[in-house]
């Protein structure tokens, strides 16, 4: 039973249709429908892992070479893994959101979910770009309609930034089409050498800008603090866990596979940029007083490491980057989820305004400390494998990448500081009545932890799932 990739489009669409119908009949909660359709997608993915995926290809506009084609390439599987599971587990664990009962929210969430998966399996640049845009728009609406604080402004800022990134992506695609006459990924790789060098440099720069904005990497990260902070938690999870990975995916697919020689030439300057970005983000994160902002900057810090791995062009480092992206996706999603669980109980994101929470919430504390260790790269948990491979690979290209270990050191300090301020110490008098997390939340966090341990102990699962790059 080979799973046809079109299933990843159809099942979520059925889910969206059910959401719209249910809006009138109100027979069950919208969240259940979302979870059920996401679960079906996940089952589809798991069955496909066992029996294999079948490609899907139908030509729509011959003259433009616009075909709707879905194929798995050497990179897809790890990315589908994260984009299928992380939003699902996040929506299971986040059950005190104010957006919970809104139909619109669930529709946009499903749309973003579906389009992110489709981006990772698109075999045609036009469909890739279309679904890329849908994720951006869905996130724009999620932030703008369900966020808090300066949500409207943050959403607009997010839109402007990422739309600029999309614009450069579109520009790159058009240039590619002009010089190769094809939008199809497979023919593209065969004919990429025919692109004149000046054009290929331009395309490369365009792709690079897109990736820098999307991941985001310093100095194009200005949308991040606002968007992450004002988005509802499920939106933040999606932004950090899935959308930032779109940038990494694009960079590997087009930067590295399409123009390896250009990336190779720019390797050292880009590595220097990566190191600066990593150190900058580490310090920026350490200066935050708000847990959500701290996690946002820390997320950007890890994407900086991913960036270092990719631009070093070393095979081990790129492998490490992919592993780190998958791993970071699960870890940061669970950390954001836990910060939301905390917020719904103690009512503040401020690290310095609570204390002693462990006394009332030992289970949450356990998971939080566990995930902090995971994110700090304790061996046996998933981040370590990614970091190790990135450093091994990129060290031989540019020895000074080891400087970014300082960033990990700073991260140790601020993560442990936040753990200490929030969970340890004497219980804050206003928090006497808070209760520990519910079984459903424990279930969600256990699922996250399961993946973190699984990838940490058997990284070969991920390495084996993608072909030689």
């Amino acid at each position: 039973m080979i799973i046809n990739l079109i299933g990843f489009l159809i099942i979520p669409l059925i889910g969206i249709m059910a959401l719209i119908l249910n809006n009138y009949t109100k027979s069950t909660s919208q969240k259940n429908i979302t979870i059920i359709s996401m679960c079906s997608t996940a089952v589809l993915f798991l069955v496909g892992l066992v029996y294999g995926f079948g490609g899907f290809d139908v030509s729509l506009v011959q003259s433009l070479d616009f075909s709707f084609s879905l194929v798995t390439n050497s990179l897809s599987t790890p990315f589908i893994l994260l984009s299928v599971f992380v939003p699902l587990i996040a929506i299971i664990s986040l059950n005190r959101e104010k957006s919970e009962s809104s139909t619109i929210f669930h529709i946009f969430y499903m749309l973003a979910y579906m389009s992110a998966i489709i981006v990772f399996i698109s075999g045609n640049l036009i469909s890739l770009f279309l679904f890329w845009e849908v994720t951006v728009l869905s996130m724009f609406f999620i932030i703008s309609l369900f966020g808090d604080g300066a949500n409207k402004r943050s959403a607009m800022k997010f839109l402007i930034f990422t739309q600029f990134g999309s614009l450069t992506l579109l520009g790159a695609f058009i240039l590619v089409f002009i010089y190769t006459g094809s939008f199809s990924l497979t023919t593209l790789f065969a004919t990429a050498s025919s692109i004149p060098s000046i054009v290929s440099y331009t395309i490369f720069i365009f792709i690079l800008v897109t990736a820098l904005i999307k991941m985001p990497v310093f100095p194009l990260h200005e949308w991040l603090p606002d968007a992450y902070l004002s988005a509802p938690m499920s939106g933040t999870v999606f932004l950090s866990a899935v959308m930032s990975k779109l940038g990494g995916y694009i960079l590997i697919l087009f930067g590295l596979e399409l123009f390896p020689s250009i990336l190779h030439r720019f390797s050292i300057p880009l590595l220097i940029l990566g190191i600066i970005a990593v150190i900058y983000m580490a310090f920026a994160a350490s200066g935050q007083k708000n847990l959500k902002s701290m996690l946002s900057y820390s997320s950007a810090f890890y994407m900086g490491l991913v960036f270092i791995g990719i631009v070093s062009t070393s095979v081990s480092a790129v492998t490490g980057s992919v592993i780190l992206m998958v791993s970071h996706s699960f870890i940061i999603a669970s950390l954001f989820a836990m910060s939301s669980m905390l917020f719904s109980r103690i009512g503040t994101h401020d690290i310095y305004k609570s204390g002693g929470v462990m006394k009332r919430m030992p289970v949450l504390t356990f998971f939080f400390v566990f995930m902090v260790f995971a994110t700090l790269g304790v061996p046996g948990l998933s981040n370590f494998v990614g970091e190790l491979l990135i450093f091994i690979g990129s060290y031989s290209v540019f020895p000074f990448v080891l400087v970014s270990l300082v960033g990990l050191l700073v991260a140790t300090n601020y993560y442990l500081n936040s753990v200490r301020k929030i969970f340890y110490g004497t219980l804050h008098s206003s928090l006497k009545k808070i209760s520990d997390i519910s079984l459903v939340e424990i279930f969600g966090l256990s699922l996250f932890s399961f993946f973190v341990i699984l990838i940490g102990l058997y990284p070969s699962l991920i390495i084996g799932s993608f072909g030689v790059i």
Partner: protein, 580 residues
Amino acid sequence: MLFFILLPAIIATLLIPLFRKEYSFIVSITGTALSLILSGYHFYAGFGKIIEQSYTWMTVNGYSIVLSTVSNNLTLFMATLVSFISLMVLIFSTFYMKKEPQKRFYAEMSFFIFSMLGLVISNSLLLFFVFWEFIGVSSYLLIGFWYSKEAPSAAGKKALVITRIGDMALLAAIIILFTAVHTFSLSSILNELSVIPPATMAIVSVLLITAAFSKAAQFPFYTWLIDAMEGPTPVSALLHSATMVAAGAYLAVLVLPIIQSAGMTGLVTGFGFLTSLIAAFLALRERHFKKILAYSTMESLAFMFLAIGTANTGGAVFYLFTHAVFKSLLFFVSGVLALSFGTYDIYKIKSRGSRKSWVLIPSLIGFLSLSAIPPFMSFFAHLSITYGFNFYENVGFVVISFLTALFAFRAFFIIFSSNRSRPTLKDPAAYFPVYILAAVSSVGGSFLLFFNNLLPIQYRLDMFSYLSLVAAALGIYMALELFYYKKASRMVAKLYLLSDRIANYRYDNILLYTGNSIVGFGEVVAEFDNVLARSFSRLAASAMYLSSKSRRIQNGDALSYIDAIFIGMVALLLLVVVML
């Protein structure tokens, strides 16, 4: 299979949550006892053999990332020692931690023991690093065990942050070595040292020395060790004897050929002397019993580094063994006294009447061991530490012997000098480990005679050994006069003044300053980023303004957007179906 040694400890960690909390110590002790039996068996069966076992973790880019263990005399001896001391500590814990929430404690202890056992049998540097990190993490959890108090949680954090400097250094060293020789296996790396260029060697050695020093609490990393006394006493006993700090010395023993070929041994000895001097002086003015022991740990570790720096690994390992026994003994004593009298302050212990306590004899044995008085085992260890010393090092060591005896017996005489006496707690779980360790401490010196079968070790009884002994005896005599008979109080005051002056140079302030400036720098960067983000927000705001002009096109009803997108999607799908 060597890794069977580890299984009982990790299984115990995983099982403890399933049991009722009254039984958690049974699970933990059973696990460690099994580990002890297994390592003892391996030690017996594998004596004199070298067996490497490896497991390919993953293959990337044609390079296999291999985790391997090695069973040889050194690793098996260490495994036996670690599980023996751990067992003693766990038995003592049933006495000390009776009134505490136990599940978490025993689970964390078992995990810690698992990590240390894994560390000593690792051959692959990567596997070594894995367990090295586990040790750091579990020590963080154990030191901060009493999380609701301010000081322990701060101490735990400090311990992990400072030792993580070493962790990152070790990781960097491993990566550099891997890039040079494409293997993680320590035995292969040591065989291929000649391939590595000298500059790389120098960097790697400095990184490795940093790693070892940070874990072993040597200058300038030592402050975490003193603060770590906030943890429960069994934890201190475990961390300070055969495990965490010993891991640093053990790393240096393993990578000594690298340090030697980079010509950095002088660095190790130099810092060793510096640390031992600082520790001895700081211990002189300390009132907190456990902190005195912590300073003496620093000093003992420095002795190991002195031996390592003079290429005398046998002596270092023998001293590690000796130190593990008498230091855990002394910590147990401090724990018994603290539980009985409710304080660690040596003057308060004295005034509350400790004279006729049953721990008097064991602690005398412990302190005599610490001061290296024969026939106690550390005297024999000193004979072998000093084997490779040159003249100046020998002279320095004599001075340090004097200081050691002085601060050790200062503590002893102060604690037991009052005539008042009150009953001390007596519990089989307390005196069983104490007596066993006291016995080993008393007769253990004879191990030196056949230690040579185990590891190459050399020792010599020369003029300086006698001089050190005389100096130590002098130190004890002086402590007796000064602190027991309380003569020459002006001299004591001067001594304290000197010690205070050194304390003022303590690295704490510099460290604190560094820490604060890093945090401050973080705040500056965060503020800068905030400004940056705000300036881009203006851009967004102007876009909002522009868009308000064209509001009529958008009706603001999100559902209609969704409908549009959805219709588009369905149309796309229909188109697809039609085209099929």
